[in-house]
């Protein structure tokens, strides 16, 4: 297969600086810029200037400015979050996540998934804040039947950016043992691999998506056999990109794992607290296969 040979030859992102620019000639292409956050944990202001390790980093205002800068030059921008929007500063204790959702709405987030800490004010607390979010919550493996969130989230979603059809799914972590049942109530955790493959196949085959993105709060990688983004990727089909969270892992560039079909799946995660903005640029040619052109995780602030 041409694409795999290409990847093998170049090592995807690994090889930098090898290509003479003169060899590039004109094709018919569309570029998609995917921007993402995870585990922002109510970090609305930059980390305080108190001598701590992260002082001065992050902050919603500067993240918004950075996103605007990118939007000014890029036509097709997808902005997503991989969960744990809530909990970590008094903004959450005092206002219950209201401001977090309002800010993300203002920044133009296209979608988010649900992290374990998004249940910290209870499933009712999360439901109460939903009207402040103008973007959908995508979660494929939580069954909210008989809860206040029933029918208020999506198991998958197609977003159009120009001529591109982008399919999105969302995966949440096992709640039992992590979140008190009094908070998540009747929410049922379903097998993430099965649900991911089911919805990804649907998006690729029935919805004819050019790209399938999984917003995941499973965590990047574990020493145990707990399901993670890395193990999910290896057991997956039809997922091109996993935007991860939960383990607060800051990757310099996306990890690449081969799926059941031997196709590469990119996994990215950008730490926590809104200190970085993930930035993945994909170029689609006419046959519409994504290529990671320029994947980088940007620092927000100082």
């Amino acid at each position: 297969m041409k694409r795999r040979a290409f990847i093998k030859k170049t090592g995807w992102l690994a090889a930098a600086g090898a290509m003479p620019l003169s060899s590039w000639t004109a094709p018919d292409t569309i570029k998609l810029t995917i921007l993402h956050t995870n585990d922002v944990h109510s970090r609305i202001e930059p980390f305080p200037m108190d001598g701590g390790r992260f002082q001065g980093l992050g902050g919603a205002s500067r993240r918004a400015a950075l996103i605007e800068t990118i939007r000014a030059t890029e036509e097709h921008v997808l902005l997503v979050d991989a969960g744990d929007i809530f909990q970590g500063t008094p903004y959450f204790n005092f206002f219950g996540g209201e401001l977090e959702f309002k800010l993300m709405s203002r920044m133009g987030y296209d979608a988010a998934t649900i992290g374990n800490h998004d249940f910290d004010a209870g499933i009712d607390g999360l439901a109460k804040q939903l009207p402040n979010a103008n973007f959908p919550f995508i979660i494929s493996n939580y069954d909210f039947k008989n809860t206040i969130l029933e029918g208020r989230t999506m198991a998958n979603k197609v977003v159009k950016k120009g001529k591109l059809r982008i399919g999105m799914i969302g995966l949440g972590i096992e709640l039992e043992g992590l979140v008190p049942k009094t908070l998540y109530k009747e929410t049922r955790y379903l097998n993430p691999v099965e649900l991911a493959n089911h919805h990804a196949a649907k998006l690729k085959q029935e919805e004819k998506c050019d790209l399938v993105i999984c917003l995941s709060h499973l965590g990047y990688k574990y020493r145990s056999d707990t399901i993670s983004d890395v193990s999910l990727a290896a057991q997956s089909r039809h997922i091109d990109l996993i935007i991860g969270g939960h383990t607060h892992t800051l990757l310099k560039q996306p990890e690449r794992v081969l799926n059941l079909d031997g196709e590469p799946v990119l996994i990215n995660q950008v730490g926590w607290g809104g200190m970085h903005l993930g930035c993945i640029e994909l170029l689609f040619e006419r046959n519409r296969r994504g290529r990671c052109v320029n994947c980088k995780n940007l620092a927000v602030g100082a």
Partner: protein, 252 residues
């Protein structure tokens, strides 16, 4: 350097739409940094959205309630922050329960900032230290469950414990466990202060399910704030020592 990058980015952005896809991925621009300048710009519309919330919050959060003599840092297996916090929880629990307990434990993952800086302690720092609405809970453990709990903590690299509990960790297993200087007494019931999060099975602690417990109905965070305010009133500052409560086997 920044300018070189900017120039390169500009050049590449121009070339991008006109390049042959098959060859594109090994181009020279995988690690382009957005300049500090760009990243540190602010967005006025976001600032004005935040402003009223911030004003309400700052009025309360910026209040200095005490002082730390040294930086209290979080580490495993033992740390100043962990010792300080667990000892505080031990004291506050006994005060509210009205009788002595054996020891107190904070779960390592429940402490949400890497350190309390030396100097003034604001209410905000304590909110960030313990943002969760965890309540103080005393669980009454038989010796077997107590050992299971300590094994669980050792496997996790050591959780903050008040001064009464000491043990070594070898290959993820606890050794030479003592409570108030004595080994675990298989006939005794031990009163241990934890959060309701752990008592309800959080942090992998499913072994507490059948245990008798007292829920004090007091937020860990509020007890911490009250404790610091009371210390300050008495002219005392916050401090903690490293004293080898929990050690890895090979440590000297």
């Amino acid at each position: 350097m920044k300018q070189i990058w900017t120039g390169l980015i500009a050049a590449l952005l121009l070339i991008l739409p006109a390049c042959k896809v098959n060859h594109l991925a090994d181009a020279a621009f995988t690690n382009v940094a957005i300049s500090d300048e760009q990243a540190s710009k602010r967005q006025a519309s976001i600032d004005s959205l935040v402003a009223p919330y911030k004003a309400r919050l700052d009025a309360e959060m910026d209040e200095v309630i005490g002082e730390a003599v040294v930086e209290l840092r979080k580490m495993r297996p033992e740390s100043r922050l962990g010792n300080w916090f667990a000892d505080l929880l031990h004291e506050e629990t006994e005060k509210h329960l009205g009788k002595p307990i054996d020891f107190a434990i904070m779960n390592y993952g429940g402490i949400r900032i890497p350190s309390i800086p030396s100097g003034p302690i604001t209410r905000r720092i304590i909110y960030e230290l313990m943002p969760f609405d965890n309540l103080i809970t005393v669980v009454y453990l038989d010796a077997g469950t107590l050992l299971e709990f300590i094994k669980h903590m050792a496997k996790g690299g050591g959780w903050p414990a008040s001064a009464q509990l000491r043990y070594n960790i070898k290959d993820g297993e606890p050794q030479q466990i003592t409570i108030d200087g004595n080994p675990i007494d298989p006939t005794r019931t031990y009163a241990v202060s934890i959060s309701d999060y752990l008592a309800n099975g959080g942090g992998g602690c499913d072994f507490f399910a059948e245990m008798r417990r007292d829920d004090l109905g007091i937020l860990v965070r509020q007890a911490t704030i009250d404790h610091i305010i009371e210390d300050t009133r008495l002219g005392q500052k916050q401090n903690a020592e490293l004293e080898g409560r929990i050690r890895y086997h090979d440590d000297p």
